[in-house]
């Protein structure tokens, strides 16, 4: 483990020498660990004030009771028991919450696989086939285009493309491939996955690209020299070295999709259940403890997935 002073020494020996003179006056003496704390402090405070404390509140409120118009600060498991209502009684049929999570996880898995596939090759192209730094930058910026519009605009934009009388359908009808407009193009799982992939592939591209550009080119040359085929180089050199990027990108995509309800709502015609949607409906009905309980459940499940992923790759070590 490097101390911050060692790092400083490497980075700028002059600075450390300067600090040695300062060290002689006892008042100005700062221990290295204190400096580390000072550096990490601002982020830690923000994290504490705007994430950890609110999170504690959410957990606390999830165990409160409520009525039509206020929270009742008395211990109650109602938020949870209501949520899991019928989960045992209805067996073998799935209860609402189980159905919702099966659906959410399914969408999440599909989006993850597709964004990973597309994102990997886009990053590969940017890292190994584009030689100029400027072009690399310019092309990665192009990936942000889906973020240039709001959700409502996107919703409006998809209808003329995928709708019953949209471009795709009329195109297919003209070529004679279909006689009737295809209905599943819009307000279906297909359109939800399409929209999510369209939005979030970017979050895959950036970290994977970042890992790939740091791969020493001489390693790839060495692989070729040693007689590896392109495929062998990919599997044995590039993928293992791009793993941290893959895992970070996956965490981005999975956490966002697990909590998303706006895109799923808009593209699924509000007919597809999402874990986030349950929370929203509860909040809108002023049932905050029930909403908080659902948020805790979502958090636990997402956390489990991420723990599993970081088992596969030790991100701390790789970074």
């Amino acid at each position: 483990m490097d101390t911050s002073e060692d790092i400083l020494q490497q980075a700028s020996p002059d600075l450390v020498r300067g600090s040695e003179t300062a060290r002689r006056s006892k008042a100005a003496r700062l221990s290295p660990s204190f400096i580390s704390w000072l550096q990490a402090g601002p982020m830690m405070l923000v994290f504490l004030a705007f994430f950890l404390i609110p999170l504690v509140f959410v957990v606390v409120v999830s165990f409160w009771d409520y009525n039509e118009y206020q929270l009742l600060p008395a211990f109650s498991g109602r938020g949870y028991t209501d949520t899991f209502e019928g989960c045992i009684a209805q067996l073998p049929e799935l209860c609402t919450i189980a159905k919702t999570y099966v659906k959410t996880l399914k969408l999440c898995f599909l989006v993850w696989i597709i964004t990973l596939f597309i994102g990997f090759w886009v990053a590969y192209f940017l890292a190994f086939h584009i030689k100029s730094k400027t072009w690399q930058m310019g092309l990665s910026l192009l990936c942000t285009i889906p973020f240039w519009t709001s959700n409502v605009i996107r919703m409006i934009a998809w209808i003329p493309l995928l709708g019953r009388n949209g471009l795709v359908n009329s195109g297919l009808m003209k070529t004679g491939l279909i006689n009737q407009p295809v209905e599943w193009l819009l307000f279906s799982e297909f359109s939800v996955v399409l929209a999510l992939v369209h939005l979030f592939t970017f979050f895959m591209v950036v970290p994977i690209f970042n890992s790939m550009v740091r791969i020493d080119k001489s390693l790839i040359e060495a692989a070729y020299d040693a007689g590896a085929t392109g495929f062998q180089t990919l599997v044995n050199v590039i993928i293992p070295l791009a793993k941290p990027g893959i895992v970070i990108g996956s965490i981005f995509v999975i956490t966002i999709v697990m909590g998303d309800f706006i895109t799923i709502g808009v593209m699924g015609g509000q007919q597809i259940a999402a874990a986030g949607k349950i929370i929203e409906t509860r909040v809108n009905a002023l049932q905050f403890p029930a909403a908080a309980a659902n948020a805790v459940i979502l958090l636990v499940i997402t956390f489990l997935i991420i723990t599993m992923m970081s088992r596969i790759v030790d991100i701390k070590k790789e970074l």
Binding site: E68, Y69, T96, G163, R164, G268, G269, K277, L286
Partner: protein, 429 residues
């Protein structure tokens, strides 16, 4: 946020000072006799929390001109308005909300009832609100949270609704309407006359309802009753069994692929209809007007089972007192004095005081919007855009016919918690 407001206030004060100086000069020179409001000690500003329905720029501009009160709009969705009243009662002065929200808002004690005696036009408010009948004497359906059930409180700080008239009014009515199904006559090509048509397999994959549980379930109940499956004692206050039954019917329809999409937002409903994704769906009057102004045939179809109605009105936050409370009264009185009412009527909504709104409308406009007569001239929106060509007749006809045909009102049920859970189940099915 506070900082910018304060700055704005200051600059406005400086502005007022200089204007006052100018006015003084002008008064001295004998040109203008004076602007009474310019003399007030501080700028009259009211923060107005509500949905976008009656938060028109023209209304706030006219209000500033007439009364010197500057309205700062805080726009939110129906659900968010209620949420804000509960959690941040000091973040607004005047509240414009729906009557059905009162069942949640009044017990929280976060709002102040208004004094009927201080509302100049109170006695002229349409009997729809006070008696539950139209001016022509037609009885209006009272299922759900009908305004006259929650219009009065027992006392100033009471949290109980009074059964007879008192001087403490929960909400001074501002705007209301009768909602029904919107249809695309060009694509359906036959007359539609019942709510039951929403679940007709003929429109499989081409129907839609609202995804706002408290409103959506009322539409669902209208459909269930119209199809003869069940007769509710009160659609606006179902028992658990009735909720189960209603959601079962809707779930079966959903699984069979009856619905193309559910909508939540005004623009979504317009797009679904205009693009032909849906041909029959629950809708709001101005949304139908908007589809029509795009040159696409769309009818706000009157149905034999009647309309589902909603109404909203003004009250003030409990934190408002003193001079600010007086301005609030001044503003509410101004709102009922005609300009705003005429503005709302021209959008296809209804105003609370009919007589004053009539005085601010052209006779041909009044005849079209309120009397159900064929338009003598082109009908224009408040912003001047063309809504209907001469000769058109309003869907559903006159005020008497539309409001008289109301069957139920948007509601918050006693079993609201259960209903919301069942709604989530319906979406997940």
């Amino acid at each position: 946020m506070t900082e910018t407001t304060r700055k704005k206030g200051l600059s406005r004060r400086t502005l007022l000072k200089s204007t006052a100086g100018l006015a003084g000069l002008a008064a001295g020179s004998g040109v203008i006799t004076g602007f009474p409001y310019v003399m007030s000690a501080e700028p009259k500003v009211l923060r107005y929390l509500g949905t976008a329905v009656n938060e028109g720029d023209d209304i706030s501009k006219q209000c500033l001109k007439d009364t010197g009160i500057k309205i700062e709009y805080i726009t939110a969705t129906t659900d968010d308005v209620t949420k804000r009243v509960m959690t941040q009662p000091n973040s607004f002065d005047v509240l414009d909300t729906e009557y059905f929200a009162l069942k949640k808002i009044v017990p929280s004690g976060n709002i102040l009832a208004l004094d009927a005696k201080k509302i100049k036009q109170f006695d002229n408010i349409t009997p729809v609100f006070t008696k539950g009948e139209t001016p022509g004497g037609k009885k209006i359906g009272g299922q759900g949270t009908a305004p006259w059930k929650v219009l009065y409180l027992e006392g100033k700080d009471s949290k109980k609704f009074a059964s007879s008239a008192t001087e403490f009014v929960t909400l001074i009515p501002t705007v209301y309407n009768a909602d029904t199904l919107g249809v695309r006559p060009d694509l359906i090509k036959r007359p539609i006359s019942s709510w039951a048509e929403l679940l007709n397999p003929e429109f499989k994959g081409k129907a839609s309802i609202l995804n706002i549980p408290s409103i959506g379930i009322m539409d669902a109940a209208m459909v269930v009753e119209a199809s003869g499956k069940y007769k509710y004692a009160d659609k606006g206050n179902m028992t658990k069994e009735e909720i189960d039954l209603t959601m079962k019917v809707m779930t079966e329809a959903k699984k069979a692929g009856q619905f193309r999409a559910f909508w939540k937002d005004f623009n979504e409903s317009v797009n679904l209809m205009a693009s032909g994704e849906t041909v029959i769906q629950s809708m709001w009057s101005p949304a139908v007007t908007k589809v029509r102004s795009m040159g696409i045939a769309c009818t706000f179809q009157p149905l034999k089972e009647g309309y589902r109605s909603w109404a909203s009105g003004f009250c003030v936050s409990k934190g408002v007192s003193g001079a600010k409370l007086e301005w609030a009264y001044e503003f509410v009185n101004w709102f009922l004095s005609g300009y705003a009412g005429a503005y709302l009527n021209r959008q296809g909504y209804y105003s609370a005081v009919l007589s004053t709104a009539k005085a601010h409308m052209e006779p041909y406009e009044w005849a079209y919007w309120m009397e159900g007569k064929a338009a003598e001239k082109d009908i224009k929106a408040p912003d001047g855009s063309l809504l209907e060509k001469a000769g058109a007749v309003r869907d559903g006809g006159s005020y008497e016919d539309r409001m008289g045909g109301v069957a139920c009102w948007n509601a918050v049920m006693d079993e609201n918690d259960y209903m919301v859970r069942k709604w989530n189940e319906f979406i997940a099915a």
